[in-house]
Symmetry: C2
Subunit: 170 residues, 2 copies
DNA sequence: ATTTTATGTCAGCCTTGTTGACTTTCCAAG
DNA sequence: CTTGGAAAGTCAACAAGGCTGACATAAAAT
């Protein structure tokens, strides 16, 4: 086993926190925290015929209005069939508008309608409230560390997606 | 909108990091990081007839050998029917042993067999490797902040479960 | 003119969650 | 000792949301 920690050998001071025990705590923290992270939007979605997949679509369309289907596909990391099922219901219900591209007419550009924007706001507000409470409780330095670790945990291509979004909105 | 930040009014210095923009970055970081978090075990599980649900069961049985079904139920937060399907296949395939309770014979105490322990080790090693790389890249202080924010993000009852596990293993 | 790309759609499958109804076992209170 | 209720397991039916494969259409690119 890779049990580091304890005795401060050469470089030991930087390995002190990397025991399997510490790593397992991190793993379990991710597991339990993610449950909390999704709990509030999930509760709201129970009142609709929508699930987490719809929430994700609404979030990223709101985030990048006019985004194409292909773009959304690569961000969400699902198949087009899977996404299409979600988008179809959102379009039918009038939460998302799909406009044919002007330059490239094959593309569909996605926008939230007022109705879609309203639901997105409800969902993200619930999620932001929890995030805000957690950030407030932990403090600014903890928040910085939180983000650093999460960024380092992403796959490289997802980190690029994340950074494109991050920079676009800032 | 609850756009704080900017101008350092009364208490402004402690709210500087709580803009909706910062919160949204935190939300997206959680989303993308969780994908990375599960990616490696998922890849291993493709070679078996198992999924994430089996991984979770193996993890927590390994974590608390002899735990009862009810106990596992409350940790995993699923229905007994859902867990039962997973446990049944793990028991049939000889990865988990279910022993009738000595004091209360209604209870089943769950243990990993050698085979179950082997798979659990593979899965958790893959997950730990990523966590270790992220922790190493971010540094000890970031790790502390990471854990603080995640703990604050959990539901209260999940935080209790987490702490019981945390203390037991330490 | 042909190929590639973007999108949509149909059919079918899997995992993993749900509810409801029911049985068996067995501890514990009356 | 009987009975109520808790713990566990099972069966059936269903839904969300992933997946693959096959196919259609329109439009861009070559």
């Amino acid at each position: 086993m890779s049990q580091h920690g304890g005795l401060g050998g050469p470089g030991g001071e930087s390995l002190l926190f990397l025991t399997d025990e510490q790593l397992r705590k991190g793993i379990e923290a991710m597991f339990f925290a993610y449950r909390g992270f999704t709990a509030d939007p999930d509760r709201i979605l129970e009142n609709y015929a929508y699930g987490r997949a719809h929430h994700r679509a609404l979030h990223f369309i709101n985030r990048s209005p006019g985004t194409t289907v292909n773009n959304l596909l690569s961000i969400l990391g699902v198949t087009k069939q899977s996404l299409n099922r979600v988008l179809r219901s959102l379009i039918e219900d009038g939460l998302v508008e799909s406009r044919v591209g002007r330059r490239d007419k094959r593309e569909r550009h996605l926008y939230l309608t007022q109705k879609g924007s309203d639901l997105e706001r409800d969902l993200s507000e619930a999620q932001r409230n929890r995030m805000r409470a957690a950030f407030r409780a932990a403090g600014p330095e903890a928040v910085s560390g939180f983000r650093q670790v999460l960024e380092a945990m992403m796959d490289a291509d997802m980190r690029h997606q994340y950074n494109r979004l991050k920079d676009a909105g800032a």
